[in-house]
Symmetry: C2
Subunit: 431 residues, 2 copies
């Protein structure tokens, strides 16, 4: 397939896709849900081929779990599609309506972004989720899933596209890329593609960000912090931190660095370290931390130099450092963090306020686990990714992040000359 030709065709189809009624878009989602049920034997057969290949290649068990598409995941996909069809239309919302002057009405109306390229990890449910978010938001999409689920993706994409066309969406609204070199072609389509959303490893996302002029939404790293300012409830503090580390260590919103206020470290650090070690987490402190651990008979899992704290483990390990106060904690986070999600444990209102206003991250949390940074948990229905950039969309990105707006101005022969000459004056009255 020639990606540029497909992208050019899609660019031309995008206005028609954007103009499709919400009834057609929701119908497509419901048809996909029905078709998933009706085609489940084909889907499971294709997935079995992917699973066999994964076993042959010796892909780790934990990853194989992600590749697997079974009855349970099918239920979730169908529930997700029907739930998405119930959600309010993100397109056509009037977010500003203003009378500029008599008979001259300005409206700001939400519209789809246009053509979006999404490159996502090998997970059959991701194909369904990404495609359905793009359909609901009226966007054309070029979809490239991970190669380890190539067979599953092909079957799923085929039925998704079939249902989209059956619902009356334009022919060119969805395209699947299957080859890795097609990603490189896609990166060059900056005249045709409005937005790229890459998901996957840090190195992969960084590669995309550095090799395209297309705007990119996503995150390369997730270096999340928890700063313990006061241990007003020791069990709560320990539980929250353990959850943030071990509930899903490979996730971008898992905590990587624990900062502890120096004046509570002597009491809190040994308890926390024992909890970590008991949960199978390796504790890597700087020299100061390790001295306290050793004095309490705890063997550190390694030693961090003070400039090594921009470290994302994605694994059962955590960096630990002491800071003088919330100010030093914030400086550390803003310097070493990735502007993803950072949490403070405190019952001090001043420290909480300082932390939430000064930490420059998409998520700033108080007394809870960083693992809540997720579109589903935020109540967005689903997410297309998490953005650590500051423009357009920040944090978990749901349907809202897949639309932009246009200004529609309607007059009756209004000319600027009349206002420049003083013959007429603007009213600027919000309606």
């Amino acid at each position: 397939m020639n990606i540029r030709e497909e992208a050019i065709r899609m660019r031309m189809a995008a206005p028609a896709m954007a103009a499709c009624s919400i009834e057609k878009r929701n119908l497509a989602l419901r048809l996909i849900a029905e078709k998933l049920e009706a085609s489940k034997d084909d889907i499971f057969a294709a997935n079995a081929l992917d699973m066999e290949a994964a076993k042959e290649k010796g892909i780790p068990q934990a990853v194989q779990k992600r590749l697997k598409y079974d009855e349970g995941k099918l239920r979730d996909s169908i529930a997700g599609l029907n739930g998405l069809a119930e959600l309010e239309d993100p397109v056509g919302k009037v977010t500003l309506k203003r009378e500029l002057d008599e008979g001259l009405i300005l409206q700001r109306v939400s519209v789809p972004i246009g053509v979006i390229g999404v490159i996502f990890e090998a997970r059959p449910d991701a194909m369904i989720q990404v495609a359905s978010l793009c359909i609901k938001s009226g966007n054309c999409a070029i979809l490239k899933g991970g190669k380890e689920t190539a067979n599953s993706n092909r079957v799923l994409f085929g039925l998704i596209k079939e249902c989209a066309i059956k619902a009356g969406l334009p022919e060119g609204c969805l395209v699947q890329a299957e080859l890795h070199n097609e990603i490189d072609e896609l990166l060059k389509c900056d005249s045709e593609v409005d937005l790229l959303i890459p998901r996957g490893s840090n190195a992969f996302v960084r590669h995309i960000m550095e090799n395209t002029k297309i705007p990119v939404m996503g995150h390369s790293s997730g270096i999340c912090h928890i700063y313990v300012d006061s241990v007003f409830d020791r069990e709560m503090a320990v539980n929250t931190i353990i959850d943030a580390k071990i509930q899903y260590p490979a996730a971008c919103n898992a905590v990587e660095t624990l900062l502890v206020k120096r004046d509570i470290a002597g009491d809190f650090l040994p308890v926390m370290a024992r909890a970590f070690i008991g949960a199978g987490v390796s504790v890597k402190g700087n020299a100061e931390v390790n001295r306290i651990l050793s004095a309490n008979g705890i063997v550190p899992g390694g030693e961090m130099a003070d400039d090594e704290f921009a470290k994302e483990y994605n694994d059962m390990a955590v960096s630990v450092k002491l800071v003088e106060d919330v100010k030093e904690a914030v400086d550390h986070i803003n310097r070493f963090g990735s502007h993803h999600t950072d949490s403070i444990i405190t019952d001090d209102a001043e420290a909480e306020k300082y932390f939430t206003s000064m930490v420059d991250s998409a998520g700033v949390y108080v007394n809870c686990s960083t693992r809540f940074a997720d579109g589903y948990r935020y109540g967005f229905g689903a997410e297309v990714g998490i953005s650590t950039g500051k423009l357009h969309a920040r944090g978990p990105v749901g349907l809202d992040g897949l639309v932009t707006y246009k200004y529609v101005l309607k007059g009756n022969g209004h000319i600027v000359g009349d206002y420049a000459s003083g013959k007429k004056q603007f009213r600027h009255k919000d309606l």
Copy 2:
């Protein structure tokens, strides 16, 4: 000055600037307004040096008018500053408040973007406007004005910075770049600068867009169209089109291409062309248009080949082409336009609907001049630029475009494990 060092310092100052109260930010604006009045002799003296140099260099009269800063422009600047101080705070707005579960409250709060670089044309009032928009929105700013007003800029920047500090804003909140090579340094500061806003010639803006990894907001070209679908009021149609062309031909929102429905061209085109020529506008049709003009005794100002329509004159000239219907007009605009602002003249509701929904531009207008695309005319107080990109901000960009948001989540020891295990369920109740 070492721009990178300044940018690093600014990056560290940005959270403190973002946390400054609206009282301090408004005080800064009011102090600047007072100081402008008190320092007007110094400002006019500096501006006189710039004007002398401009005359010596033989800079055209029209451009000299832009460089000039006089009593009238001072009044406008002071009124603009006091008006901006009256506007609602764009920072700290809660745009979503949701109970995820008992005691776990999510808020989405607007926050400044952080560090913004603005490179703007030689106009002393632009320095004041850009700096004041950045102050009001709580952003740190690196400002680089056109070199032709270097003396005026230096005096103005000096007093703006002095007033900002006096109002209690952080020392590093504003920096002025004065040398052209500092722009190249600035383009490399992608770890420090969150957003660049370049204003000026197409070639200059394109150069910025192509040579930095920093997100860029703005527009390189403004190829605006008017499509005449039905001439239900000939005088209105002609007046509107003439205004769009001649009211300020050098502006990005001036019309560059007129599209006329073929079945009305025989009647309308000669009238329109005579109006253009009477106003001093050169009419450049394609072969079909020029045949009609010639048959009516009108001499065309040139001939356009059918692939030459991506043409921005910024001058007293207009391209003209016939189309079969609104569909062909929209296809032409989406292909040759720059997604800036396009207008239809019609009394047909179907054509209007098709045009406004299918034209993929920041502004889609009905029966009015394209020249309305402007932050002041939209009632935004002022604008920092006009964006033809689709992400973050589109069209005229005022204070709203200078903020982003963060998610603040406050709990009481909430952990994700409880929801993953089914022990607890999310409520997702909007408050």
